[in-house]
């Protein structure tokens, strides 16, 4: 083999190795979903407190991921947090009285939105808004409530 050919073979092997490394990083290490992008429809909900919820956090039903948070903004009328969610098309049988609650995975884990399907015959459609929502439980507020309750009890005769 000529010297130029050897150089070319080595460079080819180098590029191939890098591509393998890139695919390992994409599919084994990160949550890359470029090739498996699923069809979604959008629903939204107003929450009085979202705690530490982030964009791209999961939306779950009974612990199973059914979508992702698309965007979080402040609603101009109510000044509550308007959370838009992309729900996978496979889960398009959600009743219109489905409720949403912001939960935390584990004691110190990330926050996600849990959906609780209701009993209505009507189904949620693209662009619908959840009627029933429950804000995130903020640890400081809980401790605050506990402390006021505790101090209230002791002040009673």
């Amino acid at each position: 083999m000529s010297r130029q050919k050897i150089v070319e073979v080595w460079v080819g092997a180098f590029v191939l190795m890098s591509l393998i490394a890139l695919s390992v990083i994409a599919f084994k290490v990160s949550n890359y979903q470029g090739l498996q992008e699923r069809a979604t429809y959008e629903i939204s909900g107003l929450f009085s407190n979202i705690g530490g919820l982030k964009v791209r956090a999961p939306v779950k039903i009974s612990g199973v991921v059914v979508g992702r948070i698309k965007s979080i903004e402040v609603d101009a009328k109510t000044y509550q947090a308007l959370v838009k969610m992309d729900i996978y098309q496979d889960f398009n049988q959600l009743s219109s009285d489905t409720s949403g609650v912001i939960l935390t995975s584990g004691l110190l884990g990330d926050q996600y939105v849990g959906l609780e399907p209701g009993g209505s015959d009507e189904l949620l459609k693209n662009g619908d808004r959840l009627e029933l929502t429950q804000p995130a439980l903020v640890l400081e507020e809980l401790i605050g409530q506990f402390l006021t309750k505790f101090s209230g009890d002791t002040s009673k005769p």
């Binding site: 180098f14 190795m17 890098s18 990083i25 994409a26 084994k28 290490v29 990160s30 949550n31």
Partner: protein, 271 residues
């Protein structure tokens, strides 16, 4: 009367100090200017370097393939050490499984691009400067010009493009090797559950925010290292001391430049 020469001495000391500061600043500015002119003169030569495929491949071989051993070995050990250190802290919080996520995030966001660029500057950048400096001192660059061959097209542009191609690829390999090292130590040695190791990693590492930003960083570092290495060679005094000084400056400037640019990019990307 006797105080006059003393005053003169003091004032000339001040003046000398100011002159020293001024000449240093002018020197810095003029070298920045020369670098800018060099980069601008390089731009028109870029397309032709893409067409001279053989030259480009050869430079990718010198810059990329020959840097593989140091990059792969360093990546493996960096990943192993990260996992070992992370495990010692995380095991106290009963979250030893998160060690995979921690290793992957540190490698993708910071250590992969930065350490690969530092090693590359030391291994390939310095070699490039020395080669070009030597070409200059043996008047090969002038000889090319005499033969109406543009050195920008034949010497500088292929090396520049080769660096921009090779360094991001090397960073990817560094990261992959680091994660392999983390896996070997975490799962193989420390006994972290394998499924949890990978699932924690995929749930914490975001493709867009972590992986793509890391690759963008690496490309930015490649531009910086290539410009510094080529410019130092181009600007070297054509003597043995000049070439050795330029080689040293390449490593120093490129390393500091990479660390400084890393801070700026991190502030832009992850804030």
């Amino acid at each position: 009367m006797s105080s006059t020469p003393k005053t003169n001495q003091v004032s000339s000391g001040w003046v000398n100090g100011l002159a020293y500061l001024g000449s240093g600043f002018i020197g810095f500015l003029s070298s920045l200017g020369r670098a800018a002119i060099f980069i601008l003169s390089l731009l028109p030569a870029m397309p032709s370097a893409l067409w001279r495929f053989e030259l480009l491949i050869k430079q990718v071989y010198f810059a990329g393939v020959l840097s593989l051993p140091i990059i792969l070995t360093a990546g493996l050990f960096v990943g192993m050490v990260l996992t070992l250190q992370g495990y010692n802290v995380l095991v106290d919080y009963n979250s030893a499984e998160a060690v995979g996520a921690m290793t992957a995030l540190s490698l993708l966001r910071e250590l992969g691009p930065v350490v690969a660029a530092l090693l590359f500057a030391g291994r390939a950048g310095s070699a490039m400067t020395a080669e070009i400096g030597l070409m200059k001192s043996t008047e090969q660059l002038s000889a090319l010009e005499m033969m109406a061959v543009d050195p920008n097209k034949f010497v500088f542009a292929p090396r520049f493009l080769a660096t921009v191609i090779a360094l991001p690829l090397l960073s990817l390999l560094f990261i992959a090797m680091g994660i392999l090292g983390g896996y070997l130590v975490g799962v193989g040695w420390l006994g972290v559950d394998e499924g949890a190791f990978w699932s924690q990693m995929t749930s914490h590492v975001d493709w867009q925010e972590d992986a793509v930003n890391g690759i963008i960083k690496s490309i930015a570092f490649a531009f910086l290292v290539a410009i510094i290495a080529l410019y130092q060679g181009y600007d070297a005094m054509p003597t043995s001391e000049g070439v050795s000084g330029a080689t040293t400056r390449t490593v120093v400037h490129a390393s500091l430049g990479v660390l400084g640019l890393d801070f700026i990019l991190t502030a832009l990307m992850f804030n």
